[in-house]
Every structure is written in structure tokens, then in C-alpha cells.
């Protein structure tokens, strides 16, 4: 069972929402377990939000009539998101996933008002008794595609379409660049801040600008497949984001970092239903199946394949950490001593760039 509430309709129905708690309260008695989702973009973005919605669908498949999922899409980040989260809380959902960094404070705020409900915030760092956080170690995937980029780029310059300079994005840029520099020490990454997670036409234009400036590999931390299409048109390589986007760019698409939230969602809903749910912080990577790599393009050379597979294997068995010292940032500050591996805390607060990043 699914119910869809779009942001716009919700705003328009704000007056009617006042009556909702009573209706929801009555329905709660014999209702199936309610699981709510707050999405930052449209489910049809074929990127970030789409992967979370795939997770939601996996939940429905797993638990059938035992649960009822609902979602609100296109929720703007920031204080206003609290209204949307509250809406799901009042509608009888017992476990609510808020799936973007900018929902952090609103989630904490609403969670205080609904101490009996459970909340899960993706990519954030604030927790409470009833607020857990979860994230995927995308930087592991970035290290793999960075390795491929190092092998495949002739100009030694990659273009990176980034959204906002938050730690999550900064860490991806650094991981990508460091991995590429292991192959080609002079490798450079040019970053364009698109200041949006989703604007296909702008993402495509950003890709074109980067290609104009000599980048022959495009990668992105925005949500649409538009940049891949631009790369395909201009005859350079690119990587998909969040899901396999090879259909959009059969020649350009070298691989993609694929998010898979279904395993985590299925586990957490089960725990919430049987009462064993506890707040905590889960940060899963390639090893946990949360981050996967899409099949390599036929154009990826055997050497690049081998190197990429070796990086994946090293990450899974723990012998390789994408951030291993000695590591200095652009200003020459030593961030990691020789042989030292970055702690999760350091990663989640990263606000510096390594050499070779033009951001």
C-alpha cells in the first residue's frame, strides 16, 4: 500500500492538515505498521531519490500488507521541511526516514515532539534516543571510479559537477582525486558547484563547460543523468551517479556508483516492528552491499579494470583505505601521518581539499 503526498499539494492543503491528527489517531488502532519517507527530489529523478524509493519498494515487497509506506517528495531542505516530517508523523507513521542532509535539524526538532515515533536521518550526524543516522560510504565508490579515471583520462583532468560544499561532497572529491593520483600523480580535478542537487539542463551545461576547459572525464555529485548525455555528445567519458545510468550514455558511461538502501531499510523496519530498534549510526560501504559499482564499460582497459577491482577488493578486506597518510591538504597542513587511516569522525567533518583539486 502506498500513499503519495506531493509537496505542492501538501502546502495547498495546509489548512486541512489541522484536522489530520484526529483522523490518523483513530486509524492507528488496527493499521499496518506505517513507514514514511521524506525525499528531497522527485522519485523520477533516476538518481538519489529514486534509489531511496527503490528501497521503499523493496520494503513493500518484503513485508506486503504488514506495513504501509508513504512518502512526500520534493521537500525543500531547511526549516520548512519540519512541516512535511510532522505531516508524516501525524498521519500515523511509526518509522520515518528523512533522506537528505538538509533535513537534519528539522528531523531532530520533530522527533522531540513525537518521542514515541522513530526517525532515521540519512547522511547527517545529529542523533537522539529516537533518531538514528545512516549513510553509505560513497567515498569508497569514488575511490574505485577515481582509479578508473586515472587510467582512462588522457588529459589527466577530470571535471566534477558538485552540489554543495558539505563534508559528504568534499570527501567524494578528495577520494576521487587521491585514487586517480595513485595512477597519475599529476591528475587534476576541476569542480563546478552547481548549487543544486537537481537541475538537468544546468548539470548538462556544467559538463559542457568542464569539457571546454579540457576535462575528458566527467563525474558528478548531482542527481540527474544529464551530464552523462552531454559527455556522450562530446565524446568524453563519464560516471553515473546513484544508479546505473548507462542507458543514457552507452559509450561515455564507464561505470557508476550505485546506492542500494534496501538491505538497510528491510533490517531497520523489522527491528522497529519487533521492538529491537535502537538509535545509532550506520555507515555501510562496498563490503555491506550499500555501495555497489555498475558493470564496467567495454571501453575500460584491462589495466584499469584490474586496478579498480584491486581497489574494491582492498576496501572489502580492509587492507586499503581511500584516505591513508601521509596526507596533506592544499594549504600544506598535515591531515594524516604516514600510514595513518582517516577516522570516521575526520571524514564526516572534512572541509579541506587535497592538492590537484580546483574547487
Amino acid at each position: 500500500m502506498t500513499s503519495i503526498i506531493t509537496r505542492r499539494r501538501f502546502t495547498f492543503g495546509a489548512g486541512a492538515a489541522a484536522t489530520l491528527p484526529f483522523a490518523a489517531g483513530r486509524a492507528l488502532a488496527q493499521a499496518p505498521f506505517g513507514v514514511g519517507f521524506i525525499y528531497v527530489g522527485p522519485v523520477g529523478d533516476h538518481g538519489w531519490t529514486w534509489t531511496h524509493d527503490q528501497g521503499r519498494k523493496a520494503l513493500e515487497k518484503e513485508y506486503g500488507d504488514k506495513i504501509k509506506t508513504s512518502f512526500i517528495e520534493n521537500v525543500a531542505e531547511g526549516p520548512d521541511a519540519a512541516r512535511a516530517i510532522r505531516q508524516l508523523a501525524q498521519a500515523g507513521n511509526q518509522l520515518i526516514f528523512t533522506t537528505s542532509f538538509g533535513f537534519m535539524n528539522p528531523t531532530i526538532q520533530v522527533a522531540k515532539q513525537f518521542p514515541k515515533l522513530k526517525f532515521e536521518h540519512a547522511t547527517g550526524y545529529q542523533r537522539a534516543e529516537n533518531v538514528a543516522t545512516y549513510n553509505a560510504r560513497f567515498y569508497e565508490g569514488r575511490a574505485v571510479i577515481g582509479t578508473i579515471a586515472g587510467h582512462m583520462s588522457k588529459s589527466g583532468t577530470a571535471g566534477y559537477i558538485a552540489s554543495f560544499p558539505i563534508p559528504e561532497v568534499v570527501m567524494g572529491i578528495n577520494a576521487f582525486t587521491l585514487a586517480a593520483q595513485k595512477v597519475n600523480p599529476n591528475f587534476k580535478t576541476k569542480v563546478i558547484w552547481a548549487s543544486t542537487w537537481y537541475d538537468p539542463a544546468k548539470e548538462a551545461d556544467a559538463a559542457k563547460a568542464l569539457i571546454d576547459q579540457g576535462c575528458d572525464i566527467i563525474t558528478q555529485h548531482t542527481d540527474s543523468a544529464a551530464a552523462l548525455q552531454a559527455a556522450e555528445q562530446r565524446g568524453v567519458f563519464a560516471f553515473g551517479q546513484a544508479s546505473d545510468m548507462s542507458a543514457f550514455a552507452p559509450k561515455a558511461h564507464l561505470s557508476a556508483i550505485v546506492d542500494d538502501w534496501s538491505g538497510y531499510y528491510i533490517r531497520r523496519v523489522k527491528e522497529a516492528m519487533d521492538g529491537s530498534w535502537k538509535s545509532g549510526d550506520v555507515w555501510g560501504g562496498i563490503k555491506d552491499g550499500m555501495v555497489k559499482l555498475a558493470p564496467y564499460n567495454a571501453a575500460v582497459t584491462p589495466a584499469a579494470r584490474q586496478a579498480a577491482d584491486a581497489v574494491q577488493k582492498g576496501i572489502v578486506d580492509g587492507s586499503l583505505h581511500p584516505f591513508t597518510g601521509e596526507l596533506k591538504d592544499q594549504k600544506g597542513v598535515q591531515r594524516l601521518k604516514a600510514g595513518e587511516k582517516a577516522s570516521d569522525e575526520m571524514l564526516s567533518k572534512m572541509d579541506w581539499y587535497v592538492d590537484g583539486v580546483q574547487a
Binding site: D45, P165, Y198, P200, A225, A226
Partner: protein
Amino acid sequence: MNSVILVSIVMTLVAAATPILLAALGELVVEKSGVLNLGVEGMMLCGAVAGFAVAYGTGSTGLGLAAAALAGIATAMVFAVLTLSLTANQVATGLALTIFGIGASSLIGAGFVGRTIERLGPVFPEALAGHPWLRVVFGHDVMVYLSLALVLAVSLFLRRTRPGLILRAVGENDQSAHAIGYPVIGIRYAAIAFGGALAGLGGAYFSLALTPMWADRLTAGRGWIALALVVFAAWRPGRLLLGAYLFGAVMTLELQAKAAGIAWLAPEVLAMAPYLATIVVLTMMSLRRGAGRLDAPACLGKAFTAS
């Protein structure tokens, strides 16, 4: 800066400006007839999804464009019936049309997410557009030339033809036009249909040319920029062209500056640039014209009932 980059910048800015220009030109005619249709974004999205669906189904981008124009008209007719025949509030109905368009396009497009089609290609043969500078002239797709021709046509229509004069009269003083015997409602229906067709084509430019795919909210707010451009242009087609290309240039140069690593400009400043430019131009125009009426048609947004 070498010429290859310069040509590429020009090509990108023209492509970025074209959908805004198309949608804004349609809205300009609508507003000249005295109707304010805030549903541009919704009509663009309906055009985008219809164009993609038909182009995907038939393999013909030409048919896709036709379908986009028809879908734009169909969406616009919902607005026309509500505001003209039922005299509903134009602002509220226009906003509702945008919300409706977002939802309807998302519903229709759900089955097309993740698919792609052949991009709308240049209209002239490759040989003619071989040299980089010739590419600036001959390297565009059909919609770019169509949009330019339409700017000229609308400009001539409004200023030099009798029907254009009548359309303006309806927008300036609907009661007088009615008293002389002109069918105010009929003329406004026609204007809204034209606006819908161009918004549909503008939307389809995203799904067929810029980013040949369907994704929810593909136009990402360009419909609102088109609406602002009409005011920016003081309801003149020539200035609309200038404004659209200026806006395209600012959007493109913002990205180029970032890619070139111009570090003294914060990315946030560059992201603000197009909107800052809009505010500056609007302020300058208001200052020059005193009261700031900005040449808006006198009956803009007012419901008409024959008296």
C-alpha cells in the same frame, strides 16, 4: 580564451536561452491580450513529457514537437475555460495550472524514466557548420531558428498588423474593445492557445534537445524565469530576445568561470548572478520610467465580463 571555447560558449548559451525565449514569447502574447497566465512551468512540463512520449513511441522528434505544442494548448485550455468562461481568478488558476502540470507530467512520465532518445540534431548539413565560426550561424537545431523567426513574426504582428492592434486593444481596454464589437473572449482564447503551444515547445526543448530524457520537473523552474523575462522585456519581443540571450549568457558564463577556476568569485556569487542581473535591470527600468508601470497592458490579470 581560444575560439573553440568561445564558440562552444555561444552554442551553449543559445541552447540555454531558447526554451526560455519560446515560453516567454508565448506568455508575452497572452499578457498583451490582458491575461496573466502563471501556469507557464506547468504547460512546459506537459509539453516536455508529451513531446518525449511521442518521440519515444514514434521515433520522430518532429511528431514529438507537434505533440508538445498540442499538449501545451490542451493544458492552456484548462486555464482558458476557467478564467475566461468561468471568470476564475487568473493568479490562483495560473498557480494551480503549474501545480497540475507538475503532477500530470510526473504521472504520464513515470513509465519513461530512465529511457532516452536521439537528440534533436542540427538542421543544416555538417559541411556547412564545419568551421567553428560558421557553426555559430549554422550549427543549431530547428527550434533555435524557429524561435528567432517567431520573435520577428510576433513583433511584426503586434506592431504592424490589424489583428495585432486588436489584440493589444483587448489587453489595454477590454470594455472599449467589446463595445466596438471585437470578441474579447475569443481573442483571449486564441492568445492563450498560442501561449500554451509555445510553452509546450519550450518544455519539449528540454526533453528532446537539451537533455533527451524524461525526469520529473525536468524544466527546473525555467517557466518562472520566462514569466520574469516578459516583465524584464517590458512586453517587447525584441527586448525579450535580448533578455533571454543575456540570461543564457549569464547562466553559461557562470559555469565557465567556475570550470576555469576563477577563484576570487565565490560560487554562491556566481549562482546569484542571473538573478542579480534581473533585479538590476528591473530597477533601472523602473527608475527611468518613473512610476514603474513598465508598460504593462492596462487590463493585465483582470477578469472580463461583457457589460
